[in-house]
Symmetry: D2
């Protein structure tokens, strides 16, 4: 059986396991106050070109989104996001549970549109009833988006400028950031992200780590009391050095972006393979998630040998499915998949 | 100056003031446990045809929505509403602040569509990721809607049936219920509402009272611990008998529906007056709110003598405005408005 | 039957009803943006000697406590209060429901002790685990306390100084403030309160109004976005002018303190009456609540003709009960009570 | 330098690392729906003697407490705990942040007293104001307590009986459960815990795992919708099999209790060593945490070579400190500590 269900099916990159086996017997102080975390934070600051940024390590994506957003907003503020954003749809209401509305804008291949964001913010400010409405207090974007698509550097800068014109911080969910940075043709680097965003996270869970997300607060006074807010959200790992160790490894010798590249290479092979057989994509994704429109017969046939995600019904005879690759995807698994496509 | 800004500009119906002046010096136990509240509850149960219903009195609409919805839902549930619903737009995030997502459906003249509700509920249940999504735990409708429109009895029954098929209670926001019941051509009575809804409230603030909303729980075991939940939401009035006194008066000799009728009569005069002059409506509202598309010149001219609400920009030359009447609207004020229309 | 159960059994002072009857037919804009509210705010600022204070009107005490405290605190902060404080015991968890811990200090006749407050704050700051603990973000006191007792001006100033030394605002719950100001021997005036507190409220519900509490923010930048936070807490009254009207009346010609005086006079008569018969008090209260230790036989006997509150069991043969007077207590009712004491 | 600061300074037991290295390259479905989790759950059910229990894996202790408690309680309910309970003091307000009060009872060497619990519950039920108070909806105990002490089986059964008499579930925080089970002289087994508690967790973080806590719901209908509530609390680990793998290892061949034994042996050596030198303990702890009263001179002297936790000031010349051992404490480190005691 071949598995392309998601990008978090495997464990960690071997170098992380090596480091873990090496340090497992040592003793470390708790809660991320250890030296390994310190070292990892320095590496991340350096990679981002932001020597003054705060860096924090959390365990998972929903946890990070909830903690960052609730820690930033005032009780009467909400967060603006694409209607397809992870916080809008697939976090079981984590943001609302912490007391804040997710204010949705239309999605365009998973992205928000700068002009629509500006319109929304201006309309809000001019609405004579705005004191009876949820005030936008942060803008959330994901990069890559939930549909695998990417913002250009120009788009990020425009969105960032609009947010700052309206006094609102920009937050980027980088659960799959590595795959965005490693994509062909992107002009967005880690420096671009750090330059445009007030806070963002570099996803580890999906890009080489066992678990872990590195939050970078480039605007250091954005959030006061972040430590106790991590704690009260249940997001403080006792053995915080486990997170430091993983990010320290990922940010040594450019490992993070390098291993992400494999996911892109394998995803592009899948993309081309399906295209050559005439299958259409739902989004033109340059990253590790490929959304394909399959006729139901082919889909059922493939299912016997391959696992992948159901995305949505396309029409009575067709279905959209998702194939995800990762840093750990084996080329021979993609070979086998393409072979099946040739001779289903 | 003529005022058609809203339907809560005046105080209370004179009979309420009379009752208040009569009872003001008496002593009553607190928190709605007094005899006047008991009497008022009985009158409401009788008017609804629901002898076993629980009846509670709260102070205002947003407070009632927040308290009822949060008291009913489990932490992982949200409430389904029209995107134009009051809880979706104009309660400053009260529902989210209590931890719950407002899940929006498209609005059609302010109403949700039964088929779209059914589709949404079925799609949710079949979504393989639904455990990562907010579960619909209640359906919210307003009647009249925020746009002055009304559900038919058939529509209410269909929506109610769909909710119950999916094990979800139906909640009706009746902030302006009196104006809905008094409208021409409606086939919805208080009995219909009580028959279709698991919980609803009869609005007093906008229909004759100084303040106050009567919550009717027709499905008595729907909410456990409602009293302490009213308290912790800051919604428990110390002198609860003030609420009982008002509803007791409104539900004596059919006063509630009778006084609502005036708002309808005056609103229809405004509607016809504008129509005769060729102005279009944004919605065909049979109730006390009339949404008119005015050219900006007329609007500016009227504004010198009349106050009304800005609703939204229609196009560069036109604006949608709202005229609201109430139980207290004076016919001579409408005369004067219509006069102004003739000779602006 | 004589009623001394509580101080919110009657309606409003006759002058308020007169004003209401006079203004009932007028039209006012909603949500407290009307001229009457403006006038009332000015009167309160003047009475407090704080021309720059923000003044807001809310409906009830628990609502006010919840809204003020939640609007002031950051998510990781709690509010310090006496273990007997209203927010600690009798608000059904309203503060916790909004996400904040009530951090309790011992009560001494219902009051917190300045030295214990200082010790607590210093100990917290020096605790090496304080980032894992709830940070004190506000101090709450009630004046009069829940036991009818009063702080001296010196005590208020000392507590205020300690709070400010630690960067924490002081909030005073004045549900019964009028009765505190009108007590014999107190050196606390409204000016003292305004000088010591960053925010406090002047209780209307228990002192002459139908309902209503006036929040005074003497440190005007303490709370940002208070209006939408009132709204999302369900605490925004549509017909806000009803609150303005009541406080406008109460703060005209010193009515508020003047009518409070009657409660004191009658309470002192009750106090003396019981003392003369040899009954002991649980607290030496100079205000409108008197806590008496009755033998159970006397209590049961009195109960046939008088209603009062059970407070707590004292020992097997005795019970603590509360007699409350108000601005509306009739001297002849106290006469009758004292008569019953003579000839039970 | 010797480290006795805490029991979570080391990584995982070597067998866990072996299993991780073996499975790291395999592919697993996410969120704990994999086979390893299934196997681990079965092993835990068997060890507890509860074939029908639900078992869930979460990442850390505060997260688990918050998620379990909030998922169980209704909005108007609180959780009863010792004033020294972890949820009362050291979770930065996580429980309150989720909307619930921690109702505290006195602690006796870290434990609650059954009679005081019964008194509290009965007094609450008979309080005529209980609808204005937070309703006890769950009882929380920790075993071992935060002070290293243990309940006897008789005490657990008595507390359990009282809870059930009042319709309240009993929840046991077993962050250090292994050390409780492995203590000398205890009559509490995993079966006892499962028999007495409606829900409890078996701590992995402090007893052999990298991280992870296993929640056992012995009363399976106690919590509805636990999966989405784990998600919305940010507590759902994407690679859930990492948790299954660790507990599967710990519950194979009795590893969990076996490795816990080392912590006890080493802690008892420390206890005896200090006792022999005449030092007193603050609590008579039979588990891995030893609280010692040191004169400040000795303390400062030891600090040069040993790290341990400051607990609290005892008097001007003495301080209470904590020495913690773990499954990984090396006997030679304890040798060295005892040597230092002999020749400071």
């Amino acid at each position: 059986m071949l598995h392309f269900d998601s990008d978090y099916m495997e464990g960690a990159h071997p170098r992380i396991l090596e480091a873990l086996c090496r340090d497992n017997g040592s003793q470390h102080v708790g809660y991320g106050l250890d030296g390994i975390c310190g070292e990892a934070k320095d590496r991340i600051r350096k990679a981002c070109g932001t020597p003054d940024a705060e860096v924090w390590f959390l365990v998972g994506g929903t946890q990070t989104n909830r903690t960052v957003i609730d820690s930033t907003l005032r009780p009467y503020e909400g967060v603006v996001a694409a209607e397809s954003g992870h916080i809008s749809v697939h976090e079981a209401g984590a943001i609302e549970s912490s007391g804040h509305k997710v204010i949705t804008l239309p999605q365009h291949d998973g992205k928000i549109d700068a002009a629509e964001l500006r319109d929304y913010l201006e309309t809000f400010e001019h609405d004579e009833n705005h004191d009876h409405m949820v005030k936008p207090g942060m803008t959330y974007i994901s990069h890559p988006t939930e549909f695998g698509t990417l913002y250009s550097a120009g788009e990020l800068r425009e969105i960032s400028g609009i947010c700052h014109d309206h006094g609102i911080p920009l937050y980027l969910d980088g659960a799959r950031l590595g795959y965005g940075l490693a994509a062909d043709g992107t002009d967005v680097t880690l420096h671009t992200v750090a330059e445009c965003c007030d806070v963002f996270y570099i996803g580890g869970t999906k890009v080489g780590a066992l678990f872990g997300e590195a939050v970078v607060i480039t605007h250091p006074h954005l959030i006061d009391g972040f430590f106790p807010q991590i704690k009260l959200n249940g997001a403080l790992l006792a053995k915080g050095w486990l997170l430091g160790l993983q990010f320290n490894t990922l940010f040594t010798d450019g490992l993070y972006e390098r291993i992400a590249r494999n996911a892109i290479v394998q995803a592009m092979r899948i993309k081309r393979g399906f295209a050559e057989k005439g299958y259409r994509q739902l989004f033109d994704s340059p990253t590790n998630q490929q959304f394909l429109i399959l006729d139901n017969e082919t889909m059922d046939c493939l299912r016997k040998d391959v696992s992948f995600s159901f995305w949505e019904k396309y029409d009575d005879g067709h279905t959209v499915v998702r194939f995800a690759t990762s840093w750990a995807t084996k080329p021979e698994d993609v070979d086998a998949l393409l072979q099946l496509l040739q001779h289903p």
